[in-house]
Symmetry: C2
Subunit: 123 residues, 2 copies
């Protein structure tokens, strides 16, 4: 971690896998919703205000595929499905919260930078 001088290191760490859907809109939010326990499909839709079932399914499938969540389906009627965060997912969530915390900690700097840029380019 001390010699990462090649920008190619961000190519999914060497193109070993395809894209990992970490920086997308929903993965982080889903992991947050799961951090305190299992949640059902419909339960997830509440805090994830505005997400459509199609997009939620896509996001959950991708997270399941990469091992961030586990899907538990109970063949009842009506059907019941619960999603659970894995250790890997919890570990990833920690990294994501760090990034989020960075933004929060530097909000005023970001705002000032944007204003300064506007002032500079207003000419």
């Amino acid at each position: 971690m001390s010699e990462p001088l090649d920008p190619a290191m961000f190519d999914d760490c060497g193109d070993v896998l395809g894209p990992v859907r970490i920086g997308d809109k929903w993965t982080a939010r889903i992991l947050v919703c799961l951090k305190d326990g299992r949640r059902r499909f419909s339960e997830l839709r509440v805090p994830l205000r505005g997400i459509t079932p199609k997009v939620l399914t896509e996001s959950l499938r991708a997270a399941e595929r990469d091992g961030f969540v586990e899907r538990h389906a109970y063949p009842e009627i009506p059907p019941r499905v619960e999603y659970e965060i894995t250790d890997l997912g919890r570990s990833l969530l920690g990294v994501m919260e760090t990034t989020c915390a960075w933004t929060a900690a530097h909000l005023t700097e970001l705002i000032r930078a944007r204003q300064a840029y506007l002032d500079r380019t207003a000419s």
Copy 2:
């Protein structure tokens, strides 16, 4: 940082600013290229294999706008422009390297998760 229970925390930390272009394809790579000193436009194009001038300009402008890089233009002929990482940009780079390191550290887990998913869904 211990009570981030609302997934809305990822909405750019509250929609105070517009999108901050942190998770895009080029910002991290650019900051890596600048970490050891100022670089000129054409110098950046070398390690950033394949980037077109248009996209490099867009990315640099966004990074400048958010205060991650500084642009130093010298009105000579032929023109010379140097880009320099700021303290804020260096701080962000640290976070990005952490995320990258996480992926590297969990590569085998990711690969195994994908294979397991394929095996499960092959039915």
